[in-house]
């Protein structure tokens, strides 16, 4: 298969501008006649649906939630990057581009990433105009903070709820288009199959989640904005309903899945507390701006803490190992996520973990509280304060910055993070891999586009903090409205696509058959139990550290689990009603296939890069070792039940020099 | 004029009517109380009867009093219709009653209001009707031309009966609860909610809700004890 990335010619900085002004476009009178299906209403989906609606296309938008506003983009906490250089600290589009390429460990396309950096600037303007209440300085101008993996302050934020505010902005724009009639909204509808007619994506099969009815929706093009697949690990920071089904069904219809093993393990999550948990909670990366990560130097101290005999605050300063500051003096606690996560795992594996399970490290604000306390005291002209008074002032300052996160931590753990250092541990958070797309964000199936976390394109092997929101909105507001024209300009004479062609009927029947099959197994184990088992296999063999032996074993285990699933799963209720268990069963079935592909991809990529760490590929000092000569390519997989096929898209770097990422 | 009917048909328009009529009635209560306090003067009812004559004969005051009756009825009518509408809008009630920081009065304004309306009817039957139907004895006062109706006599007679004293005191307690919510609520509806001023409004409202009904309640008690 020829993987044409369709990257425009010319110098990196001019590619997008020139391409935008020369690409084919659709005239307004024709836009009205062209229908587009957008699946998903997160940042990418809502932004795409509203922008395409604004352009005059006839858009149908789908979400499995009860409202477009519930999409999981809403949970992003920290912020959104943009190369505005408002902080006057040397930021630029090129620097954001470079940081993202480097942060992604040189496994992303230069041209895509540069375009992302260009769009970042417009995103902030757009969001402000929509009424997103970003944090501001006293002078009324926008405020910035810094995030992991970079040395400038370019992150815009709205307290710890940036994702919420951006999504509400996109949701409002979408609502406006719904009111204007350019977008027809289908809530509580889940896409269960892609329909191809003459090789082009022409529609979807969607299940009405209230009635169970299968609906055939036809259009000239289909846009997937269905998010990531982190829930394949069962325990992740993703929302409960996040799933891969829409993307995976497209893969089964011939779309390629690129770099599926690239998953991001986020270092600052609240540790697992029990078997009953189905979801982990992230604490924003912004906490690492002021929090210091440490474990006890002495193993016996760690054991005492694990057994509840000692508390973190009782460990003396000299007995603490601030391992990120020790190992990475240049970036310290602000190293990228993959590096921080692995470092925490190393310490816990050595037995220095600090929770009852031994799987947690401390994130400590006591030093910051003293520092902020002194600053506050100076501001207020207070001298001769006691240490306690200074810390109290510092607590106020820390609370103003991170209050809601501290509150959340206390609600969940029952511990007061102002008095006791927080306990954190890495957890699955984001998937850099996804459906393969070219520069137009079009998959190898003509007319099928993939945006946001759903595609693979911009973050390489590791995503930097505050870049997911940037990508989702860039794709939705500023890329797809242009690039979809490259496909639709050739479709202006295609009449309204009919939804009763044999292809639609066949896809509907296949979906109906799958549902009946699942309902009729009537086995002995819940869907949840299978999902939990799948997650354990994934975490064990395809988690923070991977090796050939484990991956081979993991793949076999998943296949066995999948066979068991189709023999022994119990799905209560019927199809013709609101049935969350059935929804879950359909999703878990797809995760079980994806899980296998992830094992294969991880097995194939015998190098360590970004979030993908192969134990066979480490440098002498234990750091991840990339192998650019062998693996500087995108691994795009064609699914096949027996043996998926690998296609390679070589990554060409014309502007940046491939270096070993160093944060030391 | 469609905009105006649309406005008064809207939820906020109806709230505004409740607020404005309520505020008028709050003001009326104060004036009524000031007049009634004449009943506490130890002059055999002279000041009170002169005040009563003024209230019933002065054309301007008469005009205002008809407005007052209208506002009472309007306030009651909208209030009751809102309560009925809200009952259907809520639908099924919860099996367990909530325990949150809301006042009992705020949730029972329609009940309190209906009781107050009933009280007003009884109250007017006692005094206003007797005055209108010329069932009162006449008195003359030195320096005052002609005979005037001795409403004071009627008040005195009524408040000799413990039943009526009890009824009036209970009526005022109900009024106090109605005012406890109504006073500050009227300002909130007008859009007056401010970190600096709302606490002041709430304090004045509470004081008003206690002092005004208390002032009214003292009269029957005083008459009963002094008989």
């Amino acid at each position: 298969m020829n993987l044409n990335s369709k990257i425009p010619a010319g110098p990196l900085a001019d590619k997008w501008t020139k391409y935008k002004s020369t690409m084919p476009i659709v005239a307004p009178n024709n836009k009205r006649k062209l229908e587009i299906i957008v699946v998903g209403t997160g940042l990418a989906g809502a932004a795409a649906a509203s922008s395409l609606g604004e352009l005059g296309y006839a858009v149908k938008c789908f979400t499995f939630h009860d409202s477009p506003r519930r999409a999981h983009s809403i949970a992003a906490q920290g912020g959104i990057n943009a190369a505005k250089n408002y902080a006057n600290d040397g930021d630029s589009i090129y620097r954001l581009f470079y940081d993202t390429i480097k942060g992604g460990d040189y496994r992303a396309r230069e041209a895509n990433v540069h375009r992302l950096a260009e769009c970042s600037v417009e995103i902030i303007d757009q969001c402000v105009a929509q009424g997103v209440p970003f944090a501001r300085e006293y002078g009324g101008l926008l405020e910035n903070r810094s995030f992991g993996g970079v040395q400038v302050s370019r992150t815009f934020y709205a307290r710890g709820q940036t994702g919420q505010q951006l999504l509400i902005g996109a949701y409002q724009s979408l609502s406006r288009q719904i009111a204007l009639g350019t977008v027809q909204m289908y809530n509580r509808h889940e896409m269960l199959d892609l329909v191809k007619v003459d090789g082009k994506a022409r529609g979807i099969i969607a299940r009405n989640l209230l009635t169970g009815e299968l609906e055939r929706h036809a259009a000239h093009a289909v846009v997937l904005a269905t998010g990531g697949y982190g829930n394949v690990f069962y325990l992740s920071t993703n929302a409960m309903m996040c799933n891969v089904t829409a993307a995976w069904k497209s893969v089964k219809k011939g779309a390629l899945m690129a770099n599926p093993c690239f998953t991001q393990i986020h270092p600052t999550c609240i540790p697992v507390s029990g078997e009953y948990q189905s979801k982990l909670t992230l604490m924003s990366e912004s906490l690492r701006n002021d929090g210091r990560v440490w474990v006890p130097k002495k193993k016996e101290d760690a054991q005492a803490i694990q057994q509840g005999k000692l508390k973190g605050v009782q460990i003396k300063e000299e007995d603490r190992d601030y391992f990120l500051e020790r190992r990475y003096p240049a970036f310290g606690n602000l190293v990228p996520r993959d590096v921080a996560s692995r470092a925490a795992k190393v310490e816990c594996d050595k037995g220095h973990g600090v929770s009852p399970t031994g799987l947690a490290v401390f994130l400590d604000f006591s030093a910051s509280m003293v520092r902020y306390g002194k600053i506050e005291a100076n501001k207020k002209g207070l001298t001769d304060l006691t240490d306690t008074q200074i810390v109290a002032l510092g607590e106020e300052a820390v609370s103003a910055k991170y209050g809601n996160l501290f509150e959340m931590y206390e609600k969940i753990t029952g511990e007061n993070p102002y008095k006791e250092p927080m306990k954190i541990y890495p957890a699955v958070h984001y998937t850099m891999g996804g459906v393969w797309v070219d520069y137009n964000l079009e998959t190898n199936i003509p007319g099928l586009f993939a945006l946001g976390e759903c595609n693979f394109s911009d973050h390489g092997a590791n995503r930097l903090g505050a870049s997911a929101l940037m990508q989702g909105l860039a794709d939705g507001y500023f890329v797809i409205p242009y690039t979809i024209g490259t496909f639709l300009a050739n479709e202006i004479s295609t009449p309204k696509v009919k939804n009763d062609s044999p292809e639609f009927m066949a896809a509907e029947k296949a979906t109906k058959d799958l549902i009946d099959k699942l309902l009729n197994i009537k086995g002995n184990h819940s869907v949840e139990s299978f999902h939990r088992r799948l997650g354990k296999i994934m975490w064990e063999y395809c988690g923070m550290a991977r090796n050939a032996e484990g991956l081979t074993k993991g793949r076999q285990m998943i296949r066995a689990l999948r066979d068991e699933f189709y023999k022994d799963v119990y799905v209560p209720g019927n199809n013709d009603e609101y049935n969350p268990e059935l929804e879950k069963a359909l999703r878990v079935a797809d995760f079980m296939e994806l899980g296998e592909l992830m094992m294969m991809d991880a097995f194939n990529r015998n190098e360590s890069c970004g979030g993908h760490f192969r134990e066979e590929s480490v440098s002498e000092d234990g750091e991840a070792q990339r192998k650019d000569s062998e693996f500087a390519y995108v691994a795009a997989w064609e699914w096949d039940h027996t043996e998926p096929v690998l296609h390679k898209e070589p990554l060409v770097f014309e502007n940046v020099e491939l270096k070993t990422r160093s944060y030391k | 004029m469609k905009w105006l009917t649309t406005f008064f048909g809207s939820s906020i328009g109806k709230k505004l009517l409740m607020s404005l009529t309520g505020l008028f009635l709050i003001l009326f209560l104060l004036i009524h109380l000031i007049g009634n306090l004449q009943l506490l003067k130890n002059d055999g009812g002279m000041s009170f009867n002169i005040y009563a004559k003024l209230m019933t004969t002065n054309p301007l005051i008469k005009f205002i009093s008809y407005g007052n009756y209208f506002f009472i009825l309007l306030h009651a009518f909208i209030g009751i219709s809102l309560a009925l509408y809200n009952r259907t809008a809520k639908g099924q009630k919860y099996a367990v009653a909530a325990n949150n920081n809301t006042t009992w009065a705020s949730k029972n304004m329609a009940l309190l209001g209906t009781l107050i309306l009933a009280f007003i009817f009884i109250h007017m039957g006692d005094f206003w009707l007797k005055m209108k139907l010329d069932q009162l004895p006449m008195v003359t006062y030195p320096g005052i031309e002609g005979e005037i109706k001795d409403l004071y006599f009627s008040v005195n007679e009524t408040f000799k009966q413990p039943l009526f004293v009890g009824l009036y005191v209970i009526g005022m307690i109900i009024l106090a609860f109605h005012l406890q919510h109504g006073f500050q609520s009227a300002f909130q509806t007008l859009g007056i909610n401010h970190k600096k001023y709302t606490p002041i409004i709430k304090t004045i409202g509470l004081a008003y809700a206690i002092l005004v009904p208390l002032g009214f309640a003292i009269i029957p008690i005083w008459h009963f004890l002094m008989k």
Partner: protein, 253 residues
């Protein structure tokens, strides 16, 4: 372990929006570190293992931000803790042996779909009526072109923090949606970008709110007391002002 607690969950079961519902009581062995929803997961897994139909309830992010979870727990939307959604409510706030009553939100405009699941699409229609700023992608001036005071932006944010969960309607004895609607009116109305079309927005949103069949506000304040994001009543006052201004100050169209 002392952390284990035994509970009885008295929960509303209703097949669909056409059938009548009623309470069923189930015993649950929970643990005080569980969230309320994790406790319900345990109950559901028990029910599935017994081949019974699990209790339908809505949930998604479990971080208190998506607004999907609901539930009226012992008479209070999102349970007894202030400023907390059901997914962030932990079982350490309940006593061993306690019977917990779990009901769906009640309001005519939020019909029950199944068990504890209600239809909150009326909220979407209120936003569609005008809860936005009319700006297309690509039209925006520079983000710093219009300075906005820190406090003003902060106040706007506090209103924008609404998660659209519907607890305000559920808590209101009148079933009124004034807090939800006013939070959006205030969020956008406070900002210079949103002020431009504030009058039209407020009129349209209030009209849609009334049309949906929500009850009328009588300033009880139960919404404010139960709001998991602590949206304040001054939003309603803001909306009232905005509405008066729109009606009495605006031109005839």
């Amino acid at each position: 372990m002392s952390e284990d607690i035994k509970l009885n969950i008295k929960v509303w079961r209703q097949k669909n929006n056409k059938s009548a519902g009623g309470f069923e009581t189930y015993p649950v062995n929970a643990n005080e570190h569980m969230s309320f929803l994790e406790m319900l997961d345990v109950l559901n897994e028990d029910l599935v293992n017994q081949k019974k139909e699990p209790v339908a309830f809505e949930h998604d992010c479990r971080e208190g931000i998506c607004g999907t979870c609901s539930l009226v727990i012992n008479g209070q939307p999102h349970g007894p803790n202030a400023g907390t959604t059901t997914c962030q409510l932990h079982m350490r706030h309940f006593k061993n042996g306690e019977t917990i009553v779990v009901e769906p939100y009640r309001a005519k405009a939020f019909p029950v779909l199944k068990d504890l699941v209600v239809d909150r699409s009326a909220f979407d229609r209120i936003i569609q009526a005008g809860g936005y700023i009319s700006v297309n992608a690509g039209q925006a001036p520079d983000g710093n072109a219009i300075p906005i005071g820190k406090n003003k932006a902060g106040k706007s944010f506090e209103s924008a923090a609404c998660i659209g969960c519907g607890a305000c309607v559920a808590a209101c004895p009148n079933g009124s949606a004034m807090l939800f609607t006013s939070a959006k009116v205030t969020h956008l109305g406070l900002l210079p970008q949103g002020e431009v079309e504030a009058e039209r927005r407020t009129e349209a949103m209030v009209a849609q709110m009334d049309k949906e069949g929500f009850g009328m506000c009588s300033n009880i304040g139960a919404c404010e007391a139960e709001c998991p994001k602590e949206i304040k009543l001054d939003n309603i006052a803001f909306m009232n002002r905005s509405y008066f201004k729109a009606v009495f100050g605006g031109e005839l169209e």
